[in-house]
């Protein structure tokens, strides 16, 4: 609400009622606890003008008072003494929890929403110290900052705080540099989006074999200790170091997402891949270790192999099944990767990506009518952002590209038991060095 406190324009924000806790806590964390907020029933989406007029003529479901009376008062009623008080305050987090029995501590961690609802390892001084031995970084060094959504404040965390969460996840100390790299990314695995996002972490380089990570049969869970606990640590550290992931407050995912338990963490099967490793595509040497982060994991399409006659149509069908906002990352078993070479001549990932980019199309009218296109792409197109502005000019029945080439990726994973493969709708964020955190 910069318009109110920075530009001096008295403002009222209208929200739907399910957001009451999250918008109030955001206002408080931004130093505006008395921001004028009015609530209407959920949902607004999909309602007719008549139904929405009834919302406007009706009562705020939180306060029971008329919506428009609250709007007018929000713009005209002077601030009271309490509202004018300075609200700046320091917040801190103690290093330790009050001593208690193991049973009490397990209950406390659960009640405080510090877990993923599965049993955790209690982070004693000894266990955390054992984790810290596996990095050259000092315990009090700041690793990064994280938040669950663009509207919230960034929280800060140190090497020791990351170690605490790594212990809780059941990770072995030798995994710690990978976990630190994940934390250093600043990319949260616990985004609060109503769309119920999960994250994906792809590990490349020698660290995969050093830690015994699985890149082959069953790599994507739940069959390998390193994959499972590194991924779990990524989720726990995200929710705790960013200040929480609590439904209704700091998490608004309507349905939730099973991928979030382990953040789809695995190693790329570089040894069986016919192509360049993912981290090498992003500026690292093959001898370096790195982890790549993807967010927005929600939609998946899958298939078996590539049939000689109609493989192109089958892949196009899969692509059109994705939501149009989230670009595709192809997760290919090594057998499928070689089939793509045999069928299409894609002897480099870039060639396959170019083909996907050109073939992921749908009629413009259908594309722009998707709610996610309306929310996130149409506004950018209408204000001239390319290539969306050009694609917006297409006739309704003209097939337009659904994604941007730079957002399409390919990763090879799997044990060659069969050429099954899938497309994960997700957004690549960054690749972070693991070696720098050893």
């Amino acid at each position: 609400m910069k318009i109110d406190h920075e530009y001096g324009v008295p403002t009222v924000a209208v929200h739907t009622s399910v957001f009451q806790w999250v918008v109030r806590s955001v206002a408080r964390a931004n130093g505006m606890p008395h921001m004028r907020q009015v609530f209407v029933p959920q949902p607004v989406i999909g309602k007719s003008p008549g139904e929405l007029r009834a919302y406007v003529d009706g009562n705020d479901p939180i306060t029971g008072r008329p919506v428009m009376q609250e709007v007018i008062e929000g713009l005209t009623a002077p601030f009271g003494e309490e509202e004018l008080k300075e609200t700046a305050f320091e917040r801190s987090t103690p290093r330790s929890v009050e001593p208690a029995s193991e049973e009490e501590l397990y209950r406390l961690f659960q009640e405080n929403q510090w877990t993923d609802q599965l049993p955790i390892i209690l982070p004693t001084e000894e266990r955390v110290a054992a984790m810290l031995v596996r990095t050259s970084r000092k315990p009090d060094e700041v690793v990064g900052h994280m938040r669950p959504t663009d509207f919230r404040e960034y929280w800060e965390y140190t090497v020791e705080k990351v170690a605490v969460n790594a212990v809780m996840a059941g990770a072995k100390p030798e995994y710690f540099p990978v976990i630190l790299a994940l934390a250093a990314s600043g990319v949260s695995a616990r985004g609060s989006s109503t769309s119920s996002m999960a994250s994906m972490a792809v590990v490349n380089g020698p660290v995969r074999s050093e830690l015994g990570m699985n890149c082959g049969t069953g790599a994507m869970a739940p069959y390998n200790h390193a994959n499972a606990t590194i991924g779990r640590a990524y989720g726990l550290l995200s929710q705790n170091l960013q200040g929480g992931s609590v439904p209704g407050h700091t998490y608004m995912g309507s349905q939730g997402n099973g991928y979030a338990y382990g953040s789809a963490t695995f190693g790329e099967n570089e040894e069986r891949s016919p192509w360049e490793p993912f981290h090498v595509q992003h500026g690292f040497k093959p001898t370096e270790s790195a982890v790549s982060l993807f967010t927005g994991c929600r939609s998946t399409a899958f298939s078996l192999g590539l049939r000689e006659k109609h493989w192109r149509e089958h892949v196009r069908n899969m692509l059109r099944g994705l939501d149009p906002r989230t670009p595709p990352t192809l997760l290919l078993d090594p057998l499928t990767a070689r089939m793509f070479i045999d069928r299409g001549g894609f002897d480099a990932k870039e060639k396959l990506i170019a083909w996907i980019d050109d073939n992921a199309r749908m009629p413009a009218g259908e594309f722009w009518d998707y709610q996610l296109a309306q929310n996130y792409i149409y506004p950018r197109a209408t204000f001239g952002e390319e290539p969306w502005a050009t694609r917006l000019k297409a006739a309704p029945d003209e097939p337009i590209q659904m994604f941007l080439r730079k957002d399409i990726h390919v990763v090879v994973v799997g044990g060659e038991t069969n050429p099954y493969w899938r497309i994960m709708g997700c957004t690549y964020q960054k690749t972070v060095s693991v070696d720098e955190w050893k």
């Binding site: 318009i3 324009v9 009222v12 130093g31 406007v56 929280w155 965390y157």
Partner: protein, 99 residues
Amino acid sequence: MAGRDKITVLNPMGYPPKVAHHSLAPRLDQLDDKTIYLVDCRFDDSELLLKEIQNWFHDRMPSVRTVFKRISSVYLKDDPATWEEIEANGDAAIIGVGH
């Protein structure tokens, strides 16, 4: 029984930032003859609800001028051009809807 002995464990939460106070703009005396911007954050049909608020003003408080204004891009981006326009030409704003 070992499980009942008191032990000390470390707190897993990160460090929150200091919260700085932001003063809100003074409120208006009344809305007659004032210009209110209805700011569409372009999320989940917010436009339709704001247009009904605009209709309400037309029906019930016709002396209030309303201007429907879409933010310049998606709601995730700051929009100083729009805020400056409202600061220059408006008296108040209603923003909606959603987060």
